[in-house]
């Protein structure tokens, strides 16, 4: 299988603070790739680098074989124009910790916005697809509700439907259940599990170790801007090799 995401020595600094200190990893097509680690370890930043919401300072990052944010000609790198970056982002869905639904639009309008505005899909077609997607995340009856009228779990499921409406080949999840009340987490994880079973390539930053163990194909433990340990989630979570991994897992499990 070829790599959907390939990271070679990725560095990222915010001013003087180095957040990523050389990340090497590979996400295979069709797998569920979980990133865990303490807060401030750089896992969310790395996720945001994948769709170029953050610019990397050093190293190379590839999505589906293409360089993220740059074009290489010979040994020179050319920055991509905003429109070219936008074009690549179409294929990468992203789900945020704080949902970031558009509050002035109903659930259905949130879902049809990008297909209509970016891809030029006809409204009728987009509506039909939105109904399908909202049904898939179990919210067919909430199409006309505004985000403020939905619970956190429902908002996050709409956000997933919104990302799926662009038919992405890769889905990024940035702590999708961290802002939810405990009893609402299950619904969102069910939708994600369903999505994983359909063969979607997913990179998931999460604190849900149960989800990582059951659904994940690979797992990476990050700390201090480096990959500390990686492997099969069941192996890493039950028998961590590294001291830092053991310390972290003893706190969260």
């Amino acid at each position: 299988m070829n790599a959907m995401v390939k990271s070679e020595g990725v560095h990222k600094s915010f001013g003087p603070v180095e957040v990523l200190k050389g990340i090497d990893l590979e996400v295979k097509t069709g797998e569920v790739f979980c990133l865990i680690g303490p807060s401030g370890s750089g896992k969310s930043t790395f996720l945001r680098c994948i769709n170029h919401l953050e610019k990397i300072n050093a190293g190379r990052l590839y999505v589906d074989g293409e360089l993220v944010g740059y074009r290489q000609k010979g040994d020179k790198l050319y920055e991509l124009k905003d429109s070219e970056v936008a074009l690549k982002r179409r294929d990468i869905g992203m789900v945020f910790q704080r949902f970031n639904l558009f509050p002035h639009m109903t659930a259905a309008e949130n879902v049809i916005e990008a297909p209509v505005q970016v891809k030029g899909v006809s409204k009728a077609q987009a509506w039909e697809r939105a109904r399908e997607l909202l049904d898939r995340v179990g919210l067919a009856d909430k199409a006309g509700s505004y985000p403020s009228q939905l619970s956190g779990g429902q908002q996050q499921r709409v956000a997933i439907a919104r990302a799926l409406a662009m038919d992405p080949k890769l889905m990024l999840f940035d702590e999708p259940t961290s802002a939810l009340d405990p009893e609402l987490v299950g619904d969102v994880l069910d939708v994600m599990r369903d999505l994983a079973e359909s063969g979607m390539t997913m990179v998931v930053v999460t604190h849900e170790m149960g989800f990582a163990r059951e659904v994940g194909d690979s797992l990476v433990f990050m700390d201090g801007g480096v990959v500390v340990e990686s492997g099969n989630p069941r192996d890493v979570l039950t028998d961590p090799q590294h001291e830092r991994t053991k310390a972290f897992l003893s706190k969260v499990l």
Binding site: S83, A114, M166
Partner: protein, 320 residues
């Protein structure tokens, strides 16, 4: 769609009530019958205030020098009505100019390009830092320093022909307003959560589309209320264009006033029309704000008509 939105939260209430009554069992608790606190201070202050208002009204009503008939005779005078119309026209056009230019300036000010950002800053500094009265005079007298307006091959004319009282009024008010609107728009754009821009970009939307479809509609909620205030201010500030001889409401009424020896009476007439215009607009603003509150409030504020209906309903309940 709005009607549906109004009703939805009400659905939650009955179930909450049902839970309470279940807990308290079948015996309803005895209602409290207590003697209410008497607020004597409120009665005293109400009487004092009413007395003062009464004295003031009486002073105006019985003043021998005020010819109230002159007010009644001229309030619908065609010259006055035309003046009021021009006040409305110049206010709307200047406001329109202010809003459009203000949005452009706000976007320039927030741009990453230091030159556009600096130019916008300088514009705001200049136009907000000098009195609009002085600016009006400068536009009106522009012909003193630039006798001809020469835009190369596109346009060339005598400045006195171009800078009519209307043009001086429009430029003076509109360009000044743009500086204030720029700051209002900037505050509105900055009030939108960064996550919104990120989510939009992550969906592959361009900067322009993100601004137009996602950021500006949300910024409107912050922008509309102060913009309404600006327009009400504009309706009144437009009286300053008196000085550039544009024949708006104040100029129309004072011309009649000075020729018919009813100066104060005609100023009252002007006040009546200013009040009518600002009041009508206030109602319009209420509905505009309600429109842009969509999605951010769970329950929209009731319209006056809905309030009347609700009051009548509670009155009939009380009778029962």
């Amino acid at each position: 769609m709005t009607d549906k939105f109004d009703k939805e939260p009400a659905d939650a209430d009955p179930s909450a009530g049902a839970v309470v009554s279940k807990d308290s069992g079948n015996v309803p608790p005895e209602a409290i019958k207590a003697i209410p606190v008497r607020h004597y201070g409120r009665w005293v202050s109400a009487v004092v205030v009413l007395a003062l208002v009464g004295l003031l009204v009486n002073a105006f009503a019985t003043a021998e020098k005020i010819q109230w008939s002159a007010v009644g005779d001229t309030v619908f005078d065609s010259t006055v009505l035309a003046g009021a119309g021009r006040t409305l026209l110049i206010s709307v056009l200047a406001m329109l100019m202010g809003v459009i230019l203000g949005v452009v300036l706000a976007v320039m000010r927030l741009s990453k390009n230091p030159v556009t950002s600096w130019v916008a800053w300088a514009y705001i500094w200049l136009f907000r830092g000098t009195p609009v009265y002085v600016q009006l005079l400068i536009w009106f007298n522009l012909a003193l320093i630039f006798p001809t307006l020469n835009l190369g091959p596109i346009y060339k004319d005598e400045m006195v022909d171009v800078m009519t009282p209307f043009m001086a009024a429009l430029l003076g008010l509109g360009l000044n307003e743009a500086a204030y609107m720029a700051e209002i728009c900037r505050a509105g754009l900055m009030a939108v959560d960064e996550g919104q821009t990120e989510a939009s970009h992550a969906l592959g939307m361009s900067h322009a589309k993100t601004l137009r479809r996602i950021v500006i509609p949300q910024a409107m909620r912050v922008i509309v209320p102060p913009t309404g205030n600006e327009f009400i201010n504009m309706l009144k500030t437009s009286s300053l264009v008196y000085v550039v001889t544009y024949n708006e409401l104040l100029r129309a009424t004072s011309t009649i006033g000075s020729t018919s020896y009813a100066v104060m009476e005609l100023l009252f007439v002007a006040c009546i029309w200013y009040l009518v215009m600002t009041s009508v607009f206030s109602v319009f603003q209420f509905y505009l704000e309600r429109r842009y509150a969509r999605g951010s409030l769970r329950q929209l504020p009731a319209t006056p008509w809905q309030k009347v209906k609700a009051n009548m309903l509670s009155l009939s309940n009380w009778r029962r």
